[in-house]
Symmetry: D2
Subunit: 401 residues, 4 copies
Amino acid sequence: MQTSVFEASTKMTQLLQRYEYFLKEHVFPIEMDVIYGSFKTHLPKLNELRNIAKKEGLFAPHLSVSEGGLGLDLFEFAFISELLGKSPLGHYIFNCQAPDIGNMELMHQFASEELKNKYIKPLQEGQIRSCFAMTEPQHAGSNPVHLSTTAVKEGDYYIINGHKWFTSSADGAAFTIVMAVTDPENENPYQRASMILVPLDNPGYQLVRNIPIMGDAGEDYISHGEVKFTNCKVPVSNLIGKEGAGFALAQERLGPGRIHHCMRWIGICERAMEMMCRRAIERELDPGRPLASQQTIQNWIAESYAEIKASRLMVLDTAFKIQHQGAKAAKEDISTIKFYVSQVLMNVIDRAIQVHGALGITDDTMLSFWYRHERGARIYDGPDEVHKSVLARKIIKSYQV
Amino acid sequence: MQTSVFEASTKMTQLLQRYEYFLKEHVFPIEMDVIYGSFKTHLPKLNELRNIAKKEGLFAPHLSVSEGGLGLDLFEFAFISELLGKSPLGHYIFNCQAPDIGNMELMHQFASEELKNKYIKPLQEGQIRSCFAMTEPQHAGSNPVHLSTTAVKEGDYYIINGHKWFTSSADGAAFTIVMAVTDPENENPYQRASMILVPLDNPGYQLVRNIPIMGDAGEDYISHGEVKFTNCKVPVSNLIGKEGAGFALAQERLGPGRIHHCMRWIGICERAMEMMCRRAIERELDPGRPLASQQTIQNWIAESYAEIKASRLMVLDTAFKIQHQGAKAAKEDISTIKFYVSQVLMNVIDRAIQVHGALGITDDTMLSFWYRHERGARIYDGPDEVHKSVLARKIIKSYQV
Amino acid sequence: MQTSVFEASTKMTQLLQRYEYFLKEHVFPIEMDVIYGSFKTHLPKLNELRNIAKKEGLFAPHLSVSEGGLGLDLFEFAFISELLGKSPLGHYIFNCQAPDIGNMELMHQFASEELKNKYIKPLQEGQIRSCFAMTEPQHAGSNPVHLSTTAVKEGDYYIINGHKWFTSSADGAAFTIVMAVTDPENENPYQRASMILVPLDNPGYQLVRNIPIMGDAGEDYISHGEVKFTNCKVPVSNLIGKEGAGFALAQERLGPGRIHHCMRWIGICERAMEMMCRRAIERELDPGRPLASQQTIQNWIAESYAEIKASRLMVLDTAFKIQHQGAKAAKEDISTIKFYVSQVLMNVIDRAIQVHGALGITDDTMLSFWYRHERGARIYDGPDEVHKSVLARKIIKSYQV
Amino acid sequence: MQTSVFEASTKMTQLLQRYEYFLKEHVFPIEMDVIYGSFKTHLPKLNELRNIAKKEGLFAPHLSVSEGGLGLDLFEFAFISELLGKSPLGHYIFNCQAPDIGNMELMHQFASEELKNKYIKPLQEGQIRSCFAMTEPQHAGSNPVHLSTTAVKEGDYYIINGHKWFTSSADGAAFTIVMAVTDPENENPYQRASMILVPLDNPGYQLVRNIPIMGDAGEDYISHGEVKFTNCKVPVSNLIGKEGAGFALAQERLGPGRIHHCMRWIGICERAMEMMCRRAIERELDPGRPLASQQTIQNWIAESYAEIKASRLMVLDTAFKIQHQGAKAAKEDISTIKFYVSQVLMNVIDRAIQVHGALGITDDTMLSFWYRHERGARIYDGPDEVHKSVLARKIIKSYQV
């Protein structure tokens, strides 16, 4: 019996059970070792799991059947993303992790057949990884119009120069898509930049460092690169979409990306919630008096439940809207979920830590990882403050007519 | 084109437009006079509007067609309730106001044919009003098990004695349903009380006063009575449902009641939001620099938008669940919307007042009425704190298996 | 033994005990009747109490001994203001209520001897009341530079035209000080306006109405007037200070005024806190299980305690600074206490109401009055949002050097 | 001219300037390398700075002059602690860091002359470090009554068995003071445990690991040990104070310890505030439009200023009270500052990070360290929730008389 308008279909419910089984069987048991140990060392084990996922027909669920995926639409994939979010390894193992999923979607729509054959195919099969170089240390990410990285056309080549950071998963990636100014004089600042694919064995490219984030530089997929392009020469055919279309493509990329992220955050919340409840039951203040008997703890559980539920309904509603009307029509909704859900994520993780007491701040649970590595959720893809202003101005405008 | 899973159907959309037109045409223009003036004085005008509503086929939308209503289900009525909530007179004019709507629903299900004929019919037609006497001044409303009011059976009569307050709309009502202890020794405290209908011309009944609430005792429908029952004698046939079923019936009554209330609160939020935006546009700090240009104001607008949207999706989702699975299955959802939406209501009204500045605290707008008369939303039908604990204990239990 | 740097001196402690005794003996027993009844009707009783206060040497504590007061400095008076704040009648009975106290201070410093003799003397003795007309309905109070009220000099007279509101206590006042533009062309907008005393029997003055605030228009001292000046002619000798000094004087007036207000708010908080604790002890969820046993209630009590303590130390520290260095040096501190304490006031009143349950929203306690009539604290004397920006810009500037 | 009752004396002001100069000259330039690098590797450099501190007469300011310190009282030292808190190395370099300062104070009062000579002297001179083993992984720290660690007397020895964690700075320490149950049958649970000094070269002692906290196990002083005592044999003369006095001593130790911690937290807040302001000035959204122009940022700065100020006044007031009336009389105040200031610390660090954008989550500033390593402030020394309940129950009791 259907309990919510947003309940997953029977087909999806069965599929979700298979993913859930996989997580419990294969992923949860190893996630602590991988996340708090060396990612690279565990690559063989992770590849093994990817192969099992392929065999079980669970790999790359976001891709069409012809591309080797499950042919799920955005709304359906949202449920998968929620579930996989429960482990920091979830999306990776099924090859639907950011930034690769965004690059796949983007190139699927806008890249030339040549680029698709050369880069998307191995990316979809999990043979290579990719990254996306947009943010620059010298410029506020909240106003992406300002970019110093340039791509100057010389004959059949672009010569790229620039300095980027927070190029997630650059370490070990085979290529990046870089956002660079191609038309600095264009009157419309939103038409100055383009997206260009750069293979990372290019001598003009340098991974300066994996940026230490919250005490942890990470490596491979779990890392954020600072990178430099110095007279980096790539053929003009590496352009994605049209010249000057950089920002337009970035917007296209962000819409579904926010759904993926928000559902992943909700998955984290749900797991943190579960940990919080279990801890509240097990930990006793006095024999027979568990933390769960404390009203403050009960308040946190109730408030987390409400906030997670609100988040989930809003994100699913937005996914539904994007799917039926396109990302542009859902712009306000996308801004709304960005700032609402990121704050809920902070709230729930923080409460779960507090319920765990001293254990909560150790690396003996997953909470410490989330507390540190999800703090960025309120910053990346536009800080929450910017989304609030953007949304409010839209609403205000609607009353000015 | 459908933009949300929860979008109203075409039928409902058309219906809503008719109600909206009615509100703008007939209700908004008079609401300030009625609410800040004397309700009784305006009864002729209000009856006139009720008659127009009847003629236009908009009266009592929650009733079945055979009873003179529109035959809407709970989910459909939720949209109506949201819209009517935009005016404090909305529900009243269409005869779907609390506490009468709750009494109609309750008696429809559980009252004898005799009681139905005598009381429900004129109630449904708007000829009389009713009230509901449950809360007692000596006992914490958050634990309804404790009641001092008793109904002792003597022959074919109950002799009722007790002291109640917050008997909403008692002033001018034709009857009340009173919750009284009929079986004080029952081991199960939830089976001690019964619901009994008392006509208010009974000499054993006394309206002590309309309680001054936040500076305003009100009158007639807009009032909350303190009432006394002194050897109040009513026939046993005035019992609603079975003896001892009082709490069970109260639960039945509360489920849909919360949907009505929550959607009404959301309607208030939406109107306050509109007022806030319009004021932010019109009011200038300096010529050409409206309040709307201030980021703090923008934050409040964006946060209100998100909170209202979250509320709306959660309440609609809960209405859907009640309709398909019953109120019992939706118990957690009902607790969740109770405390979540009541807090959102406070937030939005408070922000709207602050945006209005000095005007916001005057009775020159509707905000002052809502600020005062909706403060109770966090208290009645179980204070938010109790709902949080109840919800949390349910959640915790689910992890203890 | 001294327990805090800020502990009152022995002299003050004894004095405070006398005021406290007076409040308990004479004021608390009648405050509900006066506040929820008719102020005017109770004037004889209130005057009787004023006479007792005079006899006991407690009247007008803020005045110098030669003026009939107690010769307390700002820091000492702060303790008195805190204590008197516990009743809405406290300051009034001892003739140190706003806006009169502000007018006394202002005129003491800046008015001519003639004005002093004619107006201050009877004001100090409690024979007349006064008011202060600054805020205009057409202009945002948060930017006081914009005023439409004008005072045009014609010979030895000013001809005043304008529309003011929130002229507190205008009803029954003998004179007002009005802020009016005297030099509209002055390059410095802060030097355009002047303060002029207007006796209220002037035919050019009209009290349009006592503005209904939160359901209550009030009367006499407890009221906020909407007033009009129509070719209102007063002698130029009624000018307070210099022409064009209006804003400078307003600033002077506001500094100590904020201390008075903030300490009064703290007094309200302390009384609401006491009510909250007593109610938590008395009200039982089940026999033997009082509200006070609930952790949520405990949290509110602890948080209120901390916030009140923080407020108190900050306001006393600011009073100390104003006294030793002047209001200008304490400008940041004054902005800080304005927005911090007004928010604490809201928090504590709101929590006290919630602890009282249904009783909390009735007029059966003082809480309803404070909830409604102190909501303006976040708005008047500059909305909190403006104070935050002003403070932040000052802080930022200190890092720009 | 004195600007606050709490302003430091002239003597202290001059002293503070010398410490501030030292921090800027010697500590700030190296703190990032030490904190984000290897503490052990930097020990020679740190010892060099300690020697300079000694030469300049700034070492161990909390000690009496005869012990080689500056003879400051608790109130005076509070100002020093605030200032040194601005760097994570501050207290360490001047040898007044927790847990050593607590052990010095405790042993100074309660240890035998023999223990003092053997352990305090080298500790005071900075030749050795110490630690404090109280918290146990199996028991909620919020109820310290439950301890599994036992010390059984056998002849002239205690045989200690138990498992502790969060034994801060155990790595490299020369001795620990361990809390162990010596009288398990005592009716009063607060008299069951004793404090015993254990030299860490004892074969019955084992440092299991430095617990990874928020991604960082740290080392030496910057670490938190998990330790085991297995038939660990120490002479009974290693008892501190009396047998059974463990909890009483722990309370003694905590009072001044909270002042030290809270002032250190305030120092962190002040530094984070400075970083936030500087970043807001430097970072531009558009050329000429710095972050500091954004009202949301201004709100954060203003709110941080108010909260820091409130914290500072409350902690200084509490220090004053402890000094003049003892820790017991200040128990409520100590609970209040514990939960109030720890929350302010979270708020200010979080806002500073958000203002820094992506940079804020990297290890390129000190903010990342504080975000991670001060999260424990709401947990250790009793979680905030416990302090709130304790405080509230005390307040409630005061109304029950």
